[in-house]
Amino acid sequence: MSNSFLIKTEKLYKKFPMGPTVLVALDNINITINKGEFLGLVGPSGSGKTTLLNIIGSLDSPTQGSVEVLGNKIETLSHQDAAKLRNNHIGFIFQTFNLLPVYTVYENVEFPLLLQDIETAKRKELVMQALEWVGLADRKDSKPSQLSGGQSQRVAIARAVVKKPELVLADEPTANLDAKNSHNIMETMVKLNEELDTTFIFATHDEKVMKYLKRKITLNDGYIQRDENISLNNQ
């Protein structure tokens, strides 16, 4: 039964020591996320969205409780195993795009594949396919500085999905984009979610993103305030 879900958290706590006191960033989080979901972690700043996203992405570990991602117990993973999990199964998209400025669009998208030791011809095929998905194949030789914000974020999406991960984690992906670009970006991700059956989890408080979500988990002061399936409302 453990394989029927993609992610499961049980009694998850994350605490940060703050001088003499302790900040509880995540407070008894219990959620289950299935394959193919298009889900948003929403809530105000400091509600614990990014902390939860980091733990799911194996970039951080819980203080207490259990987190299972694609059959891996995050709290027991070594640095090497966590890196392998991210490399093989998880893609990240950031608010500030974070493309490597000295490399071209093609090279930025190619980078995760270099870590997987995929042969050159196959790499080229996958990179071009990812760039086709986001509509930037003609800009493959451009440098990030030559791209608009929307184009940069589409390159970041291509980089996140080029290795065809089961899970994409996006932290405020539209925060630095205007309405039109935000709409294009979300349309692209919806398309990838439908075509590749990739699970997308967003940390956001952007209303433009929320209208695309099929499930919305609202966090407040580290605990789950509401977990609602909104796919029907969105149709």
Binding site: H79, L100, V102, E107, D171
Partner: protein
């Protein structure tokens, strides 16, 4: 991955240019100093060999005890036979007799009365034999300032500085006051054939060179000489061979009780050079060590600054699944690339002044005017096979060391912390 890293280095000049420049400067200086030290040692060995002790030197046992006083009363007698013997036993060497002597030189006025006198140190060498290597070893033709090399008996060469002090010129008469091998006082008239510049302060202050036959006659040293010097035919000192010849020669006379029995010494022990050579080895080691340390400090700081600037990149790389150890290793790999490029360029540019100094030399004789050490005032560098490689040791070691220390900061930093900095 290597190609990927290389592209990053080439395109991101702030990541590569400053470290390469640092390595370049450090390596160029290391290469130049190394070849200069090599040249210094080489010059010192050559000067000592040519002017003092040869590559090996035969003396009597008694003479060798007080060789710094050139005691000609303890000289070797029957040198023709001994030279024939060593020529036969060691055909790879050139053998030549020398007599060192001291005395006063007296310059007469037009009436034949003493005009000026001065203490003189003399060296009698074989100037007239066609096969004699002395003109070449003592560099007489190139060092001649006025006049000519002696061609007839009783002609001498005098140090140019000394000649100016005595106010004499080629063609003038000079009288040598000295003592014979048997202790009698002797006065011999010579004609100054030419003046020369030795380039060695101790000799330029007051030395003369004569043909050995004149001095043998003058000092009553028939078929005798203070020393017989042996030189390798390529004029380079070969330590192992020299000690081998010394041991084999001395073996023949080891049981002799005669204080006039011959004994052979090799250059380092004869010139006291072994201590200098040891010191120079230590100096080379220290210089390279200092450059490694200094460059590593600079590159460590550069690495820290670069790492701070690259936190975003590190965060992305961690996020896409690169392992921290792999990031650390790629940083080291980058530093090796920088080290190789910087060392290559540094070696290239370090070799240019080294070659120029090897060919033309740097005349610093004015600094050695008061020196009594047998050292040339014209400094030369010496470029050897090691010179091409020596710069790569500090070049690569310093970059790897600097990056390793700087990289530990990244390595130790928690992944989530890097990720937050990525978003900052």
């Amino acid at each position: 991955m290597l190609k990927f890293l290389f592209k990053g280095l080439v395109r991101d000049r702030s990541r590569s240019l400053f470290p390469i420049l640092t390595v370049f400067i450090g390596v160029a200086l290391t290469v130049f100093l190394y070849s200069y030290l090599n040249g210094f040692v080489s010059d010192m060995i050559k000067s000592s060999a040519h002017y003092n002790s040869g590559h090996v030197r035969i003396m009597t046992k008694a003479y060798s005890q007080e060789s710094n006083q050139s005691p000609n009363d303890l000289a070797i007698i029957g040198i023709d036979t001994l030279i024939q013997d060593v020529e036969k036993s060691y055909p790879d060497m050139i053998w030549t007799p020398r007599i060192k002597f001291g005395g006063l030189i007296d310059i007469p006025d037009k009436n034949g009365e003493t005009r000026i006198q001065g203490p003189v140190s003399g060296m009698a060498v074989d100037l007239f034999s066609r096969e004699s290597p002395e003109r070449k070893f003592l560099n007489l033709d190139e060092s001649l300032i006025k006049g000519r090399i002696p061609e007839k008996p009783n002609e001498i060469l005098i140090a140019d500085d000394f000649a100016r002090r005595l106010k004499v010129a080629p063609g003038d008469t000079a009288t040598l006051l000295s003592s014979t091998m048997y202790g009698s006082m002797v006065m011999t008239n010579f004609v100054i054939a030419g003046t020369i510049h030795f380039g060695i302060a101790a000799l330029d202050r007051g030395a003369i060179i004569t043909d050995i036959s004149d001095i043998q006659k003058s000092l009553d040293m028939n078929n005798a000489a203070g020393e017989i010097l042996g030189f390798f035919k390529d004029d380079n000192f070969h330590s192992d061979k020299a000690y081998g010849i010394r041991n084999s020669f001395n073996e023949k006379y080891k049981n002799s009780e005669d204080e006039f029995a011959p004994i052979m010494g090799a250059l380092p022990e004869e010139s006291g050079l072994s201590d200098y050579m040891g010191l120079i080895d230590i100096a080379s080691f220290v210089i390279i060590g200092i450059f490694i340390f200094a460059m590593a400090i600079v590159l460590w700081n550069a690495g820290l600054m670069g790492s701070l600037r690259r936190y975003g990149e590190m965060g992305v790389r961690l996020a896409v699944g690169e392992e921290k150890g792999h990031i650390y290793r790629t940083l080291i790999l980058e530093s090796i690339m920088i080290g190789i490029v910087g060392s290559f360029l540094g070696t290239l540019f370090g070799l240019i002044p080294s070659y120029l100094m090897e060919i033309y030399g740097l005349d610093l004789s004015f600094l050695f005017e008061k020196s009594s050490v047998m050292i040339t005032g014209v400094l030369h560098a010496d470029v050897t096979y090691e010179t091409y490689l020596i710069g790569f040791i500090p070049g690569i070691l310093a970059t790897v060391l600097g990056t390793s220390i700087a990289g530990i900061g990244i390595y130790k930093r928690e992944t989530a912390q890097l990720f937050k900095e990525l978003e900052a």
